[in-house]
C-alpha cells in the first residue's frame, strides 16, 4: 500500500508540470509566442518568397522610382523602382542561410572539439584550449573579416568566416558541460560496470549535454546573423541581383536623405529576427538552467 502511494506521487509530479507548462500564458510567455511566430514567418519568407512577396524583387517599377511607403508599395521602392518589401522578403533567404549554416558548422566543430577536450582531458584538452584561446585573441568580427577577405566574396565564404569565428564559444561551453557531466554519479556508475567510452559518450553524456548547446546555438544564431550581415554591409558578401539584408541596407546608405525606407526596413528585418531568436534563447535557457529558475 505504502509503495503504491509512493509511486503515485513520483509519477504525478512531472505530469502536473507538463500541463502547467502548456497553459502558462503569462506576459513573458506571450513574448515567446510572438517571437516564435515572427521566426516562423521569416523562415516561411526564406522558403517560399514567391508566395509572400507582392512583386518580383527584380522588376523595376520605373514610374515609382524612390517612392515612399504607400498602399501599392508597402515599404516603398528603391532607386531602380524595385519594391523594397519584395527585396526584403527575398533577401531573407541568403541572410538565414548565412546564420543557420554557420551555426551548424561552428556549433558542430566547436561542440565536437569541446566535447572531446572535456571528456578526454589531459594533453588533448590543453592543446584544444590553447587553440581556442588563440582564436579568442582576435575579436570575432575581425577574424570573420580576415577570413572572408582571404577567401574572396561568396555566400559560402561568408558562412565559413562566420562559422570559424564562432567556434571558440561553442568549444568552451561544451567543454565545461562535459567536465561536469563526466563526474556525475550515473556516468561513474556506468564506467564502473565496464561500459566502453564510446558507449558512455553516446548513451549517457550526449543526451545530457545537448541542452546548453541548443541554448548556445539559438543565441549563436542571432550573433551569426549580425556578424554575417555586418560582413555583407562592409561589401564582403556576394554582389547578386537579390541582395541579402546587410547588402540591401548598405545599398540604401547613399539615399538617406531621399529614401529613408531603403535602409530602414532591411535593418528592421534583421533586428526583428535576431530579437525573436534571442527571446526564444532566453526562454530555453531559463527552462534548462536550474540556476535561473
Amino acid at each position: 500500500m505504502k509503495e503504491a502511494i509512493n509511486s503515485k506521487t513520483i509519477w504525478s509530479a512531472p505530469k502536473w508540470n507538463l500541463i502547467k507548462l502548456k497553459i502558462n500564458l503569462s506576459a513573458s510567455n506571450l513574448f515567446v509566442y510572438v517571437a516564435g511566430m515572427i521566426v516562423l514567418f521569416i523562415v516561411a519568407c526564406a522558403l517560399f518568397p514567391q508566395w509572400i512577396a507582392p512583386y518580383s524583387p527584380t522588376h523595376m517599377h520605373t514610374e515609382f522610382i524612390l517612392s515612399p511607403p504607400s498602399a501599392l508599395h508597402l515599404l516603398g521602392t528603391d532607386y531602380f523602382g524595385r519594391d523594397v518589401l519584395s527585396l526584403v522578403v527575398y533577401g531573407s533567404r541568403d541572410s538565414l542561410i548565412i546564420g543557420v549554416v554557420s551555426v551548424l558548422i561552428g556549433g558542430g566543430i566547436g561542440g565536437g572539439l569541446g566535447a572531446l577536450a572535456g571528456y578526454v582531458g589531459g594533453v588533448v584538452d590543453m592543446i584544444f584550449m590553447r587553440f581556442t584561446d588563440i582564436l579568442m585573441t582576435i575579436p570575432g568580427i575581425l577574424l570573420a573579416l580576415a577570413i572572408a577577405a582571404a577567401l574572396g566574396p561568396s555566400l559560402m565564404n561568408v558562412v565559413l568566416a562566420v562559422a570559424v569565428s564562432s567556434i571558440p564559444g561553442y568549444t568552451r561551453v561544451m567543454r565545461g558541460q562535459m567536465m561536469s557531466i563526466k563526474k556525475r554519479q550515473f556516468v561513474v556508475a556506468s564506467r564502473s560496470i565496464g561500459t566502453p567510452n564510446w558507449r558512455i559518450l553516446i548513451w549517457h553524456i550526449l543526451p545530457n549535454s545537448w541542452s546548453p548547446l541548443l541554448v548556445m546555438a539559438t543565441i549563436g544564431l542571432g550573433t551569426s546573423i549580425l556578424v554575417g550581415s555586418g560582413l555583407s554591409f562592409l561589401g564582403l558578401g556576394v554582389i547578386k541581383e537579390i541582395p541579402d539584408w546587410g547588402a540591401l541596407l548598405a545599398q540604401g546608405r547613399g539615399y538617406l536623405t531621399t529614401g529613408w525606407w531603403i535602409s530602414t526596413f532591411p535593418g528592421l528585418a534583421i533586428t526583428l529576427f535576431v530579437l525573436s531568436v534571442n527571446i526564444i534563447g532566453d526562454k530555453l535557457r531559463d527552462m534548462y538552467d536550474p540556476k535561473t529558475k
Binding site: R130, F131, D133, I134, L135, M136, T137, I138, P139, G140, I141, L142, L143, L145, A146, I147, A149, A150, L151, G152, G222, L226, S229, G230, F233, L234, G235, L236, G246, L249, A250, R253, L256, T257, W260, S263, T264, G267, L268, I270, T271, V274, L275, N278, I279, D282, K291, T292
Partner: protein
C-alpha cells in the same frame, strides 16, 4: 600561488596567445587568392620580368616559412611592413589613427557602463515592475540591433531630420556622440542583462538574508552590499566588451565615415592591401589581449575570493 606569480603566469599566457594569433593571421592572409603584385602594377603595361622583379623585391617569391620568419623578425623590430597601395609604413599609420578609435571606444564604453549598470540594477530591484520590463527590452534590443542599423537610424533622426548633430566626419566632439551611442548601445544591452542576473543571484544568497535580519534598511542592503557583489561578474563583461567595441569600430567608422583603424582595415580589405590587413588585425589582437589581461588582474584585486583561491 601568490598574486604576483599568478599575474606572471597570466602575462606569459597572454604572450603565447599573441604569438599564436600572429601565426594564425599570417596563415589566413597567406591563403588570400589573387596576386598582390598584379594589383600593384598593370599587367598589360608591365613585362613579365618587371612583375618577377617586383615579386622578388617584396619577398613574395620565398616559401611560406621564410616569409613568416622575415615578417616576424620585422615585427620584433617594430616594423609592420608597408602598404602595397601607397608604400606607407603600416605601424605609424595605425598609431596615427589609433587615438581616434581609442577615444570612440572609451566614450562608447562609458556610455554603456552608465546605462547598463543603472538599468541593470533598477531592473533587479524593481523586478517585474514596469521599469524592469523596460530595462529588459532595452537590453534585448541592445544585443539584437546591428550597429550599422542603429547608426543609420541615429543619422536619420538626429542629422537628417532634426539637423542637431553631424552625420559624418571626425573633427570635433559633436561627431563623436552618434557613433558612441550606436556602439555603446550593444555594450549597454549586455551589461544590463549581466548586472540584472547577477543582482538577482546575489539577492538570494544567505548573507543578504542575514543583513536584512540584522535590520539594515533595504537601501543599504541593496546598494551597499548586493550591488558591490553583483558588479564583480559585470566587470568581466565590461572588460571583454571593450575589446568587442574596438572591433565594432570597423562597422561604425564606416557608417559614420570616421577616421580610425577600423576604417583603415575596411579600406585595406577592399584594396587587398595585405600588410595593412595583417598589421591592423595583429595590432588589435595585442590590444585585445592587454585589455583582457588587465581585466583578469583587476578581477583578482577586487574580488578577495579569487585572490585566495589557488
Amino acid at each position: 600561488m601568490t598574486l604576483i606569480s599568478k599575474a606572471l603566469v597570466r602575462i606569459a599566457n597572454s604572450f603565447v596567445s599573441v604569438l599564436g594569433s600572429l601565426i594564425l593571421v599570417f596563415c589566413i592572409i597567406y591563403l588570400l587568392p589573387g596576386d598582390p603584385v598584379l594589383s600593384m602594377i598593370d599587367p598589360s603595361v608591365a613585362t613579365p620580368e618587371m612583375i618577377e622583379n617586383l615579386r622578388r623585391e617584396l619577398g613574395l617569391d620565398q616559401p611560406f616559412y621564410v616569409q613568416f620568419v622575415e615578417y616576424f623578425t620585422a615585427i620584433l623590430h617594430g616594423d609592420f611592413g608597408q602598404s602595397l597601395i601607397n608604400s606607407d609604413p603600416v605601424l605609424p599609420k595605425i598609431l596615427m589613427h589609433f587615438s581616434a578609435t581609442l577615444i570612440l571606444t572609451l566614450t562608447s564604453t562609458i556610455f554603456s557602463i552608465v546605462i547598463g549598470v543603472t538599468l541593470g540594477v533598477l531592473s533587479a530591484i524593481y523586478r517585474n515592475k514596469w521599469i524592469d520590463i523596460l530595462a529588459r527590452l532595452v537590453g534585448l534590443f541592445g544585443i539584437s540591433m546591428p550597429t550599422f542599423w542603429s547608426g543609420i537610424l541615429l543619422i536619420l533622426i538626429f542629422s537628417v531630420n532634426l539637423n542637431w548633430l553631424p552625420a559624418m566626419g571626425s573633427d570635433d566632439w559633436k561627431t563623436l556622440i552618434l557613433p558612441s551611442l550606436a556602439l555603446g548601445f550593444v555594450g549597454a544591452g549586455l551589461i544590463i542583462r549581466m548586472v540584472r542576473t547577477s543582482m538577482l543571484e546575489v539577492v538570494n544568497e544567505q548573507f543578504i538574508v542575514t543583513l536584512r535580519a540584522k535590520g539594515l534598511s533595504e537601501r543599504v542592503v541593496m546598494y551597499r552590499h548586493a550591488l558591490r557583489n553583483a558588479l564583480i561578474p559585470a566587470i568581466t563583461i565590461i572588460g571583454m566588451n571593450i575589446g568587442e567595441m574596438m572591433a565594432g569600430t570597423v562597422v561604425i567608422e564606416t557608417v559614420f565615415s570616421r577616421q580610425g583603424i577600423g576604417r583603415i582595415i575596411a579600406d585595406a580589405i577592399m584594396a587587398k592591401d595585405l600588410p595593412v590587413i595583417q598589421g591592423v588585425i595583429f595590432f588589435s589582437a595585442i590590444v585585445y589581449v592587454i585589455i583582457n589581461l588587465l581585466v583578469d588582474l583587476s578581477y583578482s584585486v577586487i574580488d578577495p575570493r579569487v585572490r585566495r583561491s589557488h
